[in-house]
Symmetry: C2
Subunit: 158 residues, 2 copies
């Protein structure tokens, strides 16, 4: 029996929670191929002092390392939040097949984070490389992350 999408998203949420405990922004990401977990990362913008260290970017880098390949075709990216334009484009370059996210960029915006969004019509600009993308999985759980972040870390944003 295949492992459920909820299970993988749950791992991304758990990883984000761990990040919050370390004072990091409330985002987590997990990349899978079939039932294998290739990577699971939380945001490390502050701990690494690296504005590009979003959970998705770190997970893409780690998955490339794991597969010894810059092509992640056939992989699914689970993110606790809708990927920003940087992360979405990175997924395009990596040829990720599917993105599943929980809360939306508007939820992150409400928490004070900036919003660098890629327009729907821009998605899949690379011919033949449309990524299947779907939101709303475990959204309630993911929104709790943002509340926990504000309670624990406060109003620090980037």
């Amino acid at each position: 029996m295949a492992i459920s999408e909820e299970y993988f998203m749950g791992l991304a949420i758990k990883k984000a929670r761990q990040g919050i405990g370390e004072g990091q922004a409330p985002f987590g990401c997990c990349i899978t191929r079939g039932d294998s977990i290739l990577s699971c990362e939380h945001d490390k913008v502050w701990s690494r002092n690296d504005i590009t260290a979003h959970a998705e970017l770190l997970a893409i880098r780690e998955a490339c390392k794991k597969l010894k390949d810059v092509n992640l075709m056939g992989c699914t990216l689970y993110s606790t939040c809708e990927p920003c334009a940087m992360c979405y484009s990175a997924a395009q370059w990596a040829r990720v097949s599917r993105i599943i996210f929980a809360s939306s960029l508007d939820d992150a915006l409400q928490a004070g984070f900036s919003k660098v969004k890629i327009a729907q019509e821009q998605r899949g600009e690379m011919a033949g490389l449309n990524i299947e993308i779907r939101g709303g999985l475990l959204t309630a759980e993911a929104k709790v992350l943002i509340e926990q972040y504000r309670e624990i870390v406060g109003d620090r944003i980037y």
Copy 2:
């Protein structure tokens, strides 16, 4: 007397040329603040086996490290090629003030590279964070990089 834009772009081109010699994709990037060079990087997608290791992303990460700050406001990013959507969005997150590029994404496309472009109307989606962006500086020299790449490295693309 301020150092010229041509000088900084020349450094990015020189760095890209170094990368080609090492079998890397023909792109270079240099980030400055006033007359200070904060970072200068070439593409390392293959040497690091990391699809996100575009010259601009590496230069942004290095500049954050140099300034001990994830905010690069006031900085100028010189790129031998028009930044892709991933790199442009990373520059937005970093609040880079100005982007100057040489050749266009269409030139890179002609060399066989995929094109993940951010539409003009999407640029500066973050309120108040429009980045001044201008192309065409030392374009002829930058186009030579792409030719050199094909001669030396061949038709390997990502």
